[in-house]
Symmetry: C2
Subunit: 428 residues, 2 copies
């Protein structure tokens, strides 16, 4: 057996501990598969004294995380997090030192992926990040290699487990968002400051990486239009169900002549679509290719075990000498595309208004839709809330998104509306 692949591990939180535990548990099997042992030799984290449930004395402890780049290792694994700061410094110094770099850090890659991919190519080393998207699900590999023969027409999926946990619990139990969020926080499924997850930022980071891999474009996180699930009501989920849909927060990207389209938004997913059956904290990604058709990758989107599985899969690739290009092609071959105009897209929409219970409201909404050229497929008005407000939900026929935006613009400031309308796209 050839000599071990030597690893430095930065960050000893849940995932870092999972990586150590995984290599302890499956080490012999992994050595058979990788052709050589994979050995952690140096570690670094903020707090040396913390009990992590595994013997840490066997590893060299490095106080300064960024100094791991100078350790006598082949690969640095970064599980520190943060789009800049120590993680980015470590990435740059590791690649500059001619060592491979493995990370789960979607935020850093969304912002600095192109620079880091160039640095890895210059050094002739690997930059790998399977754990950055969809946890344990090998979807980065699926796009970079498995679907590599295809022009990808569209990539989309459930990229945030916290949101899917909340939405599927709202669906199963008929409860409202705030209520379920509080429970998710108590259970540890949502952060005490949940904004990153529930407002779609985390999914947007991941989507920008998937889009780059799928379309051969430079990661363009700044062009992702992101919205979250804060404003989805239990009543919206019930209306959707009555119409044959489930509500899911989807990240969706398409490349076209008009530019790169990237959006994170709550969608209505037909029950006949596999994503409608993805519940709980599971992640799932669909890639549609011009030869392969629709591919689906699904599994646990977070957690120490799945994420460690993805990190170590990258290490096995590196141990096998399979470095691959970080974004599926050389960094200089990635094109810079501007954002597509969402108004040009055609689709069906669900628009829900909370309205005052008074004469003429429906006529006002219907007139705004008509004047903007929006064709209504169905309209539901349901009971009155305790506060006297009423829900009106509309499903449109297929048409340009611009028309729906114009209709909503016409209704802005109307005394008939209570709060903002909720616009969800229907996955077609």
């Amino acid at each position: 057996m050839t000599k071990p692949l030597r690893i430095a591990l930065a960050g000893l939180g849940t995932v870092g501990g999972g990586v150590i535990r995984l290599l302890d548990t499956n080490g012999a099997l992994i050595a058979r598969r990788a052709g050589r042992p994979i050995e952690i030799v140096a570690v670094s984290a903020r707090d040396r004294s913390k009990d992590r449930g595994v013997d840490m004395t066997r590893f060299e402890w490095v106080d300064d995380t960024t100094a791991l780049a100078q350790a006598d290792v082949d690969v640095v694994v970064e599980l520190v997090g943060g789009s800049d700061g120590p993680a980015l410094t470590l990435a740059r110094t590791t690649l500059a030192a001619g060592k491979s770099f493995v990370t789960a850090n979607k935020a850093m890659l969304a912002h600095h992926g192109l620079e880091l991919a160039r640095a890895a190519e210059t050094a002739g080393v690997a930059l790998k990040f399977e754990a950055a998207v969809a946890g344990g699900v090998p979807v980065i590999k699926g796009l970079r290699e498995g679907a590599a023969a295809n022009e990808i027409e569209r990539v989309y999926g459930i990229l945030n487990g916290t949101c899917n946990f909340i939405l599927s619990k709202m669906e199963a139990e008929g409860r409202d968002f705030a209520d379920v969020l509080a429970e998710a926080q108590a259970l540890g499924f949502a952060e005490s400051d949940p904004s990153f997850d529930i407002d779609g930022v985390d999914a947007a980071h991941k989507l920008s990486l998937l889009a780059s891999l799928a379309f051969g474009t430079q990661p363009a996180f700044g062009d992702v239009a992101a919205a979250g699930i804060r404003h989805v009501l239990a009543a919206d989920i019930a209306e959707a169900a009555a119409l044959g849909y489930r509500v899911r927060l989807l990240g969706l990207a398409e490349a076209g002549p008009g530019g790169l389209f990237q959006r994170v938004h709550p969608h209505l997913v037909p029950v006949s679509h596999p994503l409608a059956h993805v519940t709980g904290a599971t992640n799932a990604v669909v890639a549609e290719g011009n030869f392969v058709g629709r591919l689906l990758f699904q599994g646990a989107g977070a957690g120490d075990g799945p994420t460690a599985s993805a990190v170590v899969a990258d290490l096995i690739d590196i141990a096998r000498g399979e470095f691959g290009p970080a974004f599926a092609m050389p960094a200089d071959a990635l094109t810079a595309q501007g954002p597509a105009d969402a108004g040009e897209r055609r689709g069906r929409a669900y628009v829900r208004f909370t309205v005052a219970d008074r004469v003429g409201v429906l006529a006002e909404i219907a007139a705004a839709m008509r004047d903007a050229g929006v064709s209504i497929e169905s309209l539901m008005q349901r009971g009155a809330h305790a506060d006297g407000s009423v829900l009106v939900a509309i499903v449109t026929h297929e048409g340009p998104e611009r028309s729906v935006a114009q209709a909503l613009e016409r209704l802005r400031g109307s005394q008939s509306l209570v709060g903002q309308p909720l616009w969800m796209h229907i996955l077609g």
Copy 2:
């Protein structure tokens, strides 16, 4: 750009034509991803004069397929089929000539995979077969690389699109097997001699490859217990639905201390399981790993486009210099395991009897179950057929399979039974 990867293509049927069409259509994109162009230079098939809808004059024509191994190429792609004969000769001579070999031939690999993997290692070339299992779905890569950090506890899935097409049509339309098979044959979804598909042989070939990849065992096709869907009635599907299940032909493999368990059999799949929602000719494979949990890979299981996508994905890997071990580890590291004793397995079962409509039948069945120690969870008896026979369907509590086998043995030859009982396992 470095020099092209030169390909010889054996077999110009549907898939071979798809590979040519794919490289014609996506060639520039593939060259960006692979780092070099992929070029077919030589081809061979039975009939030179046949019109294949693409210009064949640009390729060197080789009359003797097995002579392609001597062509001036880097890789031979075999799409001839057959477990032995020209395909096997070509595989052996290609690898012996120090060229990489890509194939969609599950039957050949199920029978000769170990020998060919050894030959590829000896020659230091690649042996790749993504297209051999689940068409365009990158599940070979998913197991060999994506899930490589895990001890795989179980691998199972819908491996035959023809059977899934038939079962889901029976389910949707309440029609019986023979009727739907005839339609599938008319539509070209089933062969005129459909036995290979509907009796589970094709799925068994694929399962033996998945099991080897998942468990680090030598491919052991001879140890797969295979049954098909011939004896599934529309009434069975209806009973299953009433109980919250869908009927799917699953290949399922597990490794344990008692040996390697491999079975292709119709199963009851709970509607809460993603495989219950896989309809039509789609394939889907689940791998359960000790760290990653449950991974699902899903997509088109056949057809020229998806299969060509998988073949060319293998070629891109080879163009990138990523050869990998054929069965996820060196051939000599694969262990030889005997078959596990199915009787030792514990599970729940669906057993359906067609019975004569007369006094005492239920008592006889119930007594046989009791005497074999089978605990009955539910029993349904439904109406009489035109021929006077009646269906009795039983769902058992969890118990050893041996007990169910013993109960059926006790009832063998009973005058109360019309034809063979149907035993389906319930996916747990």
